[in-house]
Symmetry: none
Amino acid sequence: MEEPVQVQVKRVCMFWFCHIIGVFISNELCTLDEKHRLTWPEVKGGVFYILYNFLPFYWVHLFISPQGIPKRRKFLFVLALCSSLCLSGFFLCPPQAHGSPNLLMSDRLSLPICSIQMKLSSSLPLSLPQINCVTFPLPGEGPEQQLLKPNEWSYCDYFWTDKKDPQGTASVAGFEVLLQKQLKGKQMQKEMAEFIHERIKIEEEYAKNLSKLSLSPLAAQEEGTLGEAWTQLKKSLHDEAEVHLKFSNKLHSEVEKPLLTFRGDNFKKDLKKYDHHIADLRKQLASRYAGVEKARKALADRQKDLEVKTQQLEIKLSNKTEEDIKKARRKSTQAGDDLMRCVDLYNQTQSKWFEEMVTTSMELEKLEVDRIEWIQQHLRQYTTLRHETDMFNQSTVEPVDQLLQNVDPAKDRELWVKENKTGEVRPVDMDI
Amino acid sequence: MEEPVQVQVKRVCMFWFCHIIGVFISNELCTLDEKHRLTWPEVKGGVFYILYNFLPFYWVHLFISPQGIPKRRKFLFVLALCSSLCLSGFFLCPPQAHGSPNLLMSDRLSLPICSIQMKLSSSLPLSLPQINCVTFPLPGEGPEQQLLKPNEWSYCDYFWTDKKDPQGTASVAGFEVLLQKQLKGKQMQKEMAEFIHERIKIEEEYAKNLSKLSLSPLAAQEEGTLGEAWTQLKKSLHDEAEVHLKFSNKLHSEVEKPLLTFRGDNFKKDLKKYDHHIADLRKQLASRYAGVEKARKALADRQKDLEVKTQQLEIKLSNKTEEDIKKARRKSTQAGDDLMRCVDLYNQTQSKWFEEMVTTSMELEKLEVDRIEWIQQHLRQYTTLRHETDMFNQSTVEPVDQLLQNVDPAKDRELWVKENKTGEVRPVDMDI
C-alpha cells in the first residue's frame, strides 16, 4: 500500500489512453486503403476495440489477413505500436512498483516478435506469498516498513502474523493473542478479589477473637487505679477488634467489590464482539483469496485453451476457424478481467481487515492500560487502608498508657482500706 | 499505751507510799495503847502489812476486834485514812487515766462507812471490754488515739478489730483480711498471665493465617511491574505475620512468663509463715486471757470465802478462829497477786502481738505496693510491644507502596509484547 489507489488508477488510465492513440495511429498508418481498414462493426464497438488491442492480437490480424498488407505498412504499424507501448508503459511503471508491471513489461518485451508462444504458465507467478490468506512481502523485498507507532511497543505493530500452535497444525491469529491477554486480565482481577476476600476473612476472625477475649472476666477483681488500667487494657482489645473489623469492611467495599465488578459481564461480550468481527473479516479474506485462486486457475485454463487452439490453427490440425480463436481470446481476456476483479476485492477486504486490526488492537491496548492503572489505584487503596488501620490500632493503646501512668499504689491502698478496714481503735493494756 | 510504763509505775509507787504513811499515821493515832496496836508479827511482815491495807480490811479489824476501840479513835482513824487515800489516790489518777483508779476511788468512797457489804462481785468489773481476747478502750473513754501513720491509709492503722462473718458466728482477724488481699493479688497476676496467654494464641493464629495466605498462587500470572507489585503485596502478608509472631513471642517472654513466675511458690509459704506467726500470738493472747479469767475467778472465790468466813466469825456462826480468817485473807491476797501477774503477762503478750501486727502489716503493705508497681511496669511493657508492633506492621506496607508507584502500563506492554508478539511485518496488497 505504498501508493494511494487514486495514483495507480491515474497511471492505468494514462497507459490505456496512450496505447489507444498509438494503436489508432498505427491502424491509420497501415490501413490507408479502405479495403484493409478495420471496420467498427468488426470490432464490436469501441470498448471491444480498445480491449482487442490490449494484447497484440492485431498483429495476428495483420499478418494472417487474406489481403496482404504491404510489408512497409506492416513495418510502420509495428514501429508505431511499439513506440506507443513504450510510452504508455512508462505510465504503468511507478517508481516503487512491486514488479508486476515490470514483469509484465519484461514479459512483453522479451516475447520474440515472430514467436507466438505466449509464456503464460498455468501458475501465473504471484509476486508475494500468502500466509493463511494474508499477503506479506517477501523477506528482503519491498520497501522497508516503519512501525506505525515507534517506541511504543504498540499492539498494532506486533501481531500481524498468526502464531503457529507448536503441537498442531492450527494457528492462532495474532489478534487472538491480544484478546486472550484481555481475558486473562479479567481472570487476574477476579483472583485478586478472591485474595482480598481471604484477607477479609482472616481479619474478621482476628477481630472476633479479640472481641471475645476482651469480655474475659480474668483479673476483673483487680481494683483501684490498677484495676482501671487493667479494665482499659481488656477493653482496648475490643477497640482493636473494631479497627480490624472496619478494615475488613473497607477492604470489602473499596477493594474487593470493585475488583469483582470492574468490567462486568458486558466486558466479555464486548471482547467477543471484537473477536467475531475480526474473525469474520479473516473469513471474508479467506473467501476472497479462494476467489482469486479460482479466477487464476480459470485464466490459466483459458490461456491454455487459446494456446492450444492457436497452435492447432497454425499447423492446420483442425478445422478451427478464426472465429474459434477469437472466442478463445475473448474468454481468456474475460478470465483475466475476472482475476483482476478478484484481486481487487481481496485487497479491499485485506485493507478492511487491516484497518480493523489497527483500530481494535489499539482499543485492546487502551483497555490494558486502563486495567493496569485501575488495579494500581485499587491496590493503593489497599495499602492506604493498611496504613490507616495500623494508625488506628496504635491509638487504641493510648488510653491504656494513660491509665497505667495513673496507677498509684497509695491511692489504691486508700480505696481498699476504706472499703475493707475492720477497725481503727487500737488495743490497750488490760487493767483491773 | 498513752503513758510510758515508767510514769505509771511511779504513780503507783507514790500511791502506795502515801497510803502507807497514811495508814501508819492512822494506826498510831488510833492505837496508842499497846493493847490495840497491830503487832508486826500479826501482819506477817511489812509487805503483807502494806497489802493488808490495800483493801480496807483494817477497817474490819477495827470494828470487829474484841477489844473495843473508842469511837473517837475510830473516827480519827477513818478521817486520817480517808485523807491519805484522797491524797495518794491523786497519784493514781493520771490526767488521762482510763478510769480504773477512779473507779477504784469511787468504789472506795461510795462504800458506806458503816456498811461492811463489800461490793465485790464474782465478776469484778474489768473496766475495759475484750473482743476475742483483745482489749480495746470503751467508746468515748480513754485518750483519743492518733493514727500511727496519718494520711497514709496504712494497713497498721485499720485492721485491729476482727471482722465478723455476716453469716456465722466466726470472725476473721483483721490481719487475715490483709493476708487474703495478698493471696488475691497472687491470683490476679495468674489471671493476667492467662489473659496474655490467650492474646498470644490469637496472635499466633492470625500470623499463621496471614502466612498461609501469602503463599497463595492467586493472580500469580500477573506480569510486569503490576505483577511485581502484586507479588510484593502478597509477600507483605508474610511480613505482617512475622511481626505478629514476634509480638506474640515477646508477649510470652516479657509479660506472660514474668507474670507467672513473679513471687513464685515461696511467696505463699512466706505468707503462711506470717499467718501462723500472728495466729500463734493471738492464740497465746487467748490463753493469757483465759489465765486472767481463771485468776479473776479464783480471786473472787477467795474473796467470797473470806467474806463468808468473816461474817461467820462475826455472828459467831462457826468455830472459825482468827487464824482461818488470816489464812483466807492470805489466800485472797495471793489470788490477787496471781491475777496481777496474769494481767501483766496478758498485756505483755498483747504488746507482742501488737508489735508483730504493726511490723507484719507494714510488710504486707510494702508487698502490695511492690505488686502494683511491678504489674504496672509489665503492663507498660505490653503497651510498648503493641506500639512497636503497629509500627513494624506499618513498615511492611512500604515496599508495596513503592512498587505500586512504579507500576507502568507502557513498560508492562513492552515486556509482554516482546514476549508474546507474533509478527511485525504488515500485510501488503496482493499483486498479479
